[in-house]
């Protein structure tokens, strides 16, 4: 690179500013000074231009950049076009690679043209990553959503959803999620340790439910998406938990999967499956009930609020199922805690 005889000799400040500009170490204040000098002094501008050109020459001398691309063409010759003359049509596709082995751009190890290491520009890379990520997120959401479809669980099965610690008596009659359609006064939520004066403790947490004779619990069975469980022939529902009763004789707990056709003014229910369990007396015992929905689901009403109601038999297939637990414990009560269900689709 030549520099003419009348070349401007830079002062040390300009030399330093330009050098710091080239090395990207220039500060904001220095940039302002450099810009002003480049605006006001043509000689300074020429000096800076020479420095930029020399910097480029240094770059080319120290790290020469090979350039290469691939090109494919399809050439079609049509001897008789519409207007009678011949015509060519050409389609061309190019791939460009530029740079040294492993150098900045993309790090392609070797090019197909035999030159070492020219990286490929990958403008498509980030959009492609974005699209793949979105697709994966959509697919993940879809499968997650689908997976929730078959997951059924009791809500407030451990009865700990309500805090009775501030209740004076330690007893409540509102049992969250367990009074769907109907409620009964013989059913209590108890902080049993306090209520029993320390004689009985809950298997887990603080609260249990105490059912007097003829009292009941009802819960519409929902999956994680909030969709009710539908009656299907062969469906099985297994209920497990802990049960407690006192007295000298065993007590009985009756359970059922019911379809509530009407709650008010007339109560009409149909039972799809039923089971009962005997609760041994004294202490907490594991509770297990299994409800098997039969093949024939044409059922008469099982529970009516009045004998005068003329409710017909109906096919329960596809009807929403409610878990009902009825206490059959004359003169005494049953305590329940840690209730869980497992729903097994037909054929499993």
């Amino acid at each position: 690179m030549t520099s003419g005889p009348g070349d401007f000799l830079p002062d040390p400040e300009l030399e330093q500013l330009v050098s710091r500009f080239l090395d990207h170490t220039i500060t904001a204040e220095e940039t302002a000074v450099l810009e002003q000098r480049l605006r006001d002094q043509p000689d300074a501008r020429d000096y800076c231009a020479r420095a930029l050109r020399f910097d480029a020459t240094l770059q080319e001398a120290l790290l020469p950049q090979p350039l290469q691309w691939e090109e494919t063409r399809r050439v079609v010759f049509d001897p008789k076009r519409k207007d009678g003359g011949p015509a060519w049509s050409i389609q061309r596709q190019q791939t460009v690679r530029y740079g040294n082995p492993g150098n900045s751009l993309s790090g392609s190890p070797e090019g197909p043209l035999g030159l070492p290491g020219p990286p490929v520009r990958r403008r498509w890379l980030w959009p492609a990553i974005l699209v793949v990520s979105l697709a994966a997120a959509c697919a993940g959401s879809f499968f997650y959503y689908r997976s929730l479809e078959n997951v059924y669980a009791l809500r407030n099965g451990d009865f700990e959803a309500m805090d009775l610690s501030r209740s004076i008596s330690g007893i409540g009659h509102s049992i969250l999620y367990w009074q769907d359609n109907f409620s009964t006064s013989g059913c209590e939520l108890c902080e049993i340790g306090r209520v029993s004066g320390g004689k009985i403790f809950a298997p887990s947490g603080r609260n249990i439910v105490r059912l007097q004779d003829r009292a009941f619990l009802n819960q519409l069975i929902l999956n994680k998406r909030g969709t009710p469980l539908k009656a299907l022939p062969g469906l099985r529902v297994i209920l497990t938990g802990q049960a407690y009763s006192q007295g000298d004789v065993p007590h009985s707990l009756r359970g059922g999967l019911r379809f509530v056709a009407s709650g008010y003014p007339d109560m009409i229910q149909y039972e799809a499956a039923t089971d009962s369990a005997t609760i041994p007396s004294g202490g907490w015992h594991p509770l297990r009930m299994e409800f098997q929905v039969p093949a024939d689901l044409l059922r008469p009403p099982s529970d009516l609020s009045s004998k005068n109601i003329a409710a017909p038999s109906i096919d329960l297939s596809g009807k929403e199922l409610t878990l009902s637990l009825d206490c059959r414990s004359p003169g005494d009560s049953i305590c329940l805690d840690d209730l869980k269900i497992e729903v097994l689709p037909p054929g499993k």
């Binding site: 030549t2 810009e35 501008r45 800076c48 020479r50 020459t57 240094l58 080319e60 530029y98």
Partner: protein, 219 residues
Amino acid sequence: MTAFAHTPDSGDDFPLLGKWSRSTSRSQSSDPSLASTAAEIAAPDPADFTAQWARAQLSVRAYLNSFLSDRSSIDDCIQEVALLAWKKGPRDSPGDAFLGFTLACAKRIAMSEVRKKYRTRLRLLSPDVVASLSDAVAAQELAEPATPAMRISALQSCLDSLEAAPRRLLDLRYSSKDPTALQQEARATGKSIDALYKKLERLRVLLRDCVAGKSTSRE
């Protein structure tokens, strides 16, 4: 800014582009439709293009240097300029037309890149300063009597005369793909990073004087 001719594609102004004429014949065929298609089919002669590009590449890099500061952006722009030159560059025009075309393309591509950099708040010189500086670079490149090969060769011989330590410093600054190479060198040698940049500044002055001396003696 200098008053320039219009580029065919962008409307940007650039010197010497007027020297390149699309009327330049690409084919000797007398049938106009066949003439143009035949010219399309006749791919650019790689040997011709190589010679033209070899003369233009250094100028394109120098010109892009006035717009952009980071090497990878400049390399990307050079790639785009080269591809445009291959596809649309004047092939049979007299010497300066190809250079004018590539610099015009470089200006358009660099301006686009600069707009992106400003969007990302990367600090650059003001647009008016960049414009005047790039004009100065382009004018110097176009007036440069020495070919790029001669310039690089002169610089190479000056580089060869350097001792290992300064040569290593230059390699770290211009050849390393690791942006922290100089910081690592400063830590390894126990010097401050400012001292290394000062050393680089002195080395560039030294090499510039060395190259100027060689070109003076050649004249």
